[in-house]
């Protein structure tokens, strides 16, 4: 029972906080607030008046291009900037391109470790800056879609004013309160780069040439300013490589609890904000409950298979096992000798790579939640999850609409809504309609593009890398687990999640690295392409779709209109998501985690 108390309390707390927050978000984004005098001066200058959907999208893309450029330049000049006491050099160009694209798109997939490769200057002016801007961009895209549906294609609002509103009225106040709590809980907050300290054991770090004990470098920085936006903006990029498993990023059980709540808070509130702004709150509650059902499913699945089941890799197999494996030249017998197993008590489940400071189910809980909301922060190593447990984070990324990221989760759900309503309409022989607007060929084309780009950007690169040395030389584990590592990386890039199975040799790091990972260049380049296309095509297509629907005349509600605020609709939506997600990704699930679970090599159930 104790294992379930943590996820239940996290979900309940977040849902309860999301309700009043959604009211506040709708109040702000509808422009119903009265700005204080000094802020109003800025708002009047940022307000371009109502843009049409094309202008809004162009503004969004241009802003992102500038953000990419800014991030790249700041990283490139890192060696010459202040706050670089540890004298970090320049990162490799491919790593910089990957980092700039990853951070500016709210992905935060990291082929670098902040504590090894970044100075505090870069952590502040690249990472924290992108935390605010990238999260706001997805938020603004959702606001544009809502206004397009409500007011038509020519009145979707002002992109710059929306960005301002999100950052000043939403992220800054909530982030400030969270950062005070983080400070109180012992999170470091300093511009200093590191403490150089003697170790308790005299030569634990080795000795210098002159025989003196080396000291330990403990990296610190402005963590209490970094972590709140990392979580609230569903960014997920860590100050340290260990991310939220590091005691400076996540010092106590309370910060772990609050970091989980923080990353789910805005995604949950945005679903209800969607309903409030469209005056369809009951419909939003149906969507919310579908998402909550799927989230509970993913959390229960991960916690069960990781906390109730032992780690098969260290479990004893007392008898010799005989198998046959298929090879190019026919079947080949394989004999696995008896394995004694490690003398590890596994009654609490798989504890490999878990932070026991937070409890036994905390790693699995965080893993499921972080991928559902496309945050990507981790407090355990996902590579060490039991194979069946690992399916849940992957599935969360594959469907990408279980609350999802800032705004984009609801946008992805809109695509599933359109397709679900279309399928239902076909089944009963009625013209499909959503929010009173008929769904035609144009809408379906755009919805399908928005839906299909995601699996294309996962499956095609996974196949290419798994079949070539690009992927094979990067795997740290053989067989299906190595395939899972490759597939997870592209799933994370495409879903703009940012967590990793690491276990994957994809880091070049600093440009003068004498021994970079051999295939890090293809990984950096591939993820730049996947991250960018998977971020913006599923934003642009739904904006165009919403604009088209907004231009249509709403049909009056009649006896034959399909209700979108009933349990039947919830089942329809859930079925659409599960069937489309399963159909698209079942083969790779079978090749990766399922094969690892069932097969004998190298580990097996």
């Amino acid at each position: 029972m104790n294992m379930w108390l943590l996820p239940i309390s996290m979900l309940l707390t977040t849902a309860l906080l999301a309700i009043p927050l959604s009211r506040y978000l709708a109040w702000i984004m509808n422009g119903e607030y009265k700005a204080p005098g000094f802020l109003k001066w800025f708002e009047d200058r940022l307000d371009t008046g109502n843009l049409n959907w094309k202008q809004y999208t162009v503004a969004l893309l241009v802003f992102n291009a500038l953000l990419f450029t800014y991030s790249y330049v700041i990283m490139a000049i890192q060696p010459w900037m202040p706050l670089n006491e540890l004298h970090r050099g320049m990162l490799a160009p491919t790593t910089m391109a990957h980092a700039a694209m990853s951070l500016s798109t709210n992905t935060d997939l990291q082929h670098w470790s902040g504590d090894v490769h970044f100075s505090n200057f870069s952590q502040i002016f690249v990472m924290i800056a992108n935390f605010f801007f990238s999260a706001s961009i997805g938020f603004c895209a959702l606001a544009a879609i809502i206004r397009a549906l409500r007011f038509g294609p020519d009145k979707v609002g002002s992109f710059f004013l929306d960005m301002w509103r999100v950052m000043i009225y939403m992220f800054l106040p909530v982030g400030f309160v969270f950062s005070l709590i983080c400070l109180q809980q012992g999170m470091p907050m300093t511009f200093k780069s590191a403490h150089i300290v003697p170790t308790l054991e005299p030569a634990a770090m080795g000795t210098t040439d002159s025989g003196q004990a080396k000291q330990q470098t403990i990296v610190v920085g402005p963590l209490a300013a970094f972590i709140p936006m990392k979580q609230l903006g569903t960014n997920g990029g860590g100050f340290f490589g260990a991310n939220s498993a590091h005691p400076f990023e996540n010092p106590t059980a309370l910060t772990n609890f609050l970091e989980s709540v923080a990353m789910m808070l805005f995604p949950m509130a945005l679903v209800l904000m969607y309903g409030r702004m469209l005056h369809k709150l009951k419909h939003a509650w149906v969507i919310f409950s579908v998402m909550m059902g799927l989230m509970i499913g993913t959390v229960v699945w991960t916690v069960y298979f990781d906390t109730y089941k032992p780690n098969p890799g260290i479990t004893a197999h007392p008898q010799e096992r005989h198998f046959e494996i298929a090879t190019a030249s026919g079947k080949k017998p394989v004999v696995l000798p008896a394995v004694a197993g490690l003398p590890v008590d596994q009654h609490l489940g798989n504890l490999e790579s878990k932070e026991l400071r937070f409890g036994t189910s905390a790693g699995a809980t965080f893993a499921a939640m972080t991928v559902d909301v496309t945050c990507g922060a981790v407090n355990c190593a996902h590579d060490s999850l039991n194979p069946m447990a690992a399916i849940s984070p992957m599935a969360g990324m594959w469907v990408n609409c279980i609350y999802g990221g800032k705004g984009v989760g609801m946008i992805n759900m809109l695509v599933f809504l359109i397709i679900g309503v279309f399928v239902a309409g076909q089944m009963v022989g009625r013209t499909p309609e959503y929010l009173g607007k008929k769904i035609g060929g144009r809408e379906m084309k755009l919805a399908m593009i928005g839906l299909l780009i995601h699996p294309i950007m996962i499956l095609w690169p996974t196949g290419i890398f798994a079949a070539t040395s690009w992927g094979q030389k990067a795997e740290f584990n053989p067989g299906p687990h190595g395939f899972s590592e490759i597939m997870y990386e592209f799933s994370s890039a495409s879903a703009n999640n940012g967590s990793g199975f690491e276990g994957l040799g994809d880091t070049w790091g600093l440009n003068d690295n004498p021994s970079p990972a051999p295939t890090s260049r293809p990984w950096d380049i591939a993820t730049v392409i996947v991250i960018c296309l998977s971020r913006f095509i599923p934003i642009i297509a739904p904006i165009a779709l919403a604009a088209g629907m907004g231009a249509k005349k709403a049909a009056p509600f009649g006896l034959g209109t399909m209700r979108d605020d009933t349990p039947t609709f919830a089942f329809l939506l859930t079925g659409t998501i599960v069937i489309l997600g399963a159909l698209l990704f079942l083969p790779v699930a079978a090749l990766g985690p399922v094969a690892e679970h069932l097969g004998p090599l190298p580990f097996g159930g």
């Binding site: 730049v528 392409i529 913006f536 642009i540």
Partner: protein
């Protein structure tokens, strides 16, 4: 890596992919 080669290449790659997104936006207008 040679910075004079790879910095323009990689920066250009990022901008080019963003440019593809612009192209997609204009394609959406035609659908």
């Amino acid at each position: 890596m040679d910075l004079w080669t790879w910095i323009p290449l990689t920066f250009g790659l990022g901008i080019a992919v963003l440019g593809l997104c612009f192209a997609f936006l204009y394609a959406c207008e035609q659908i």
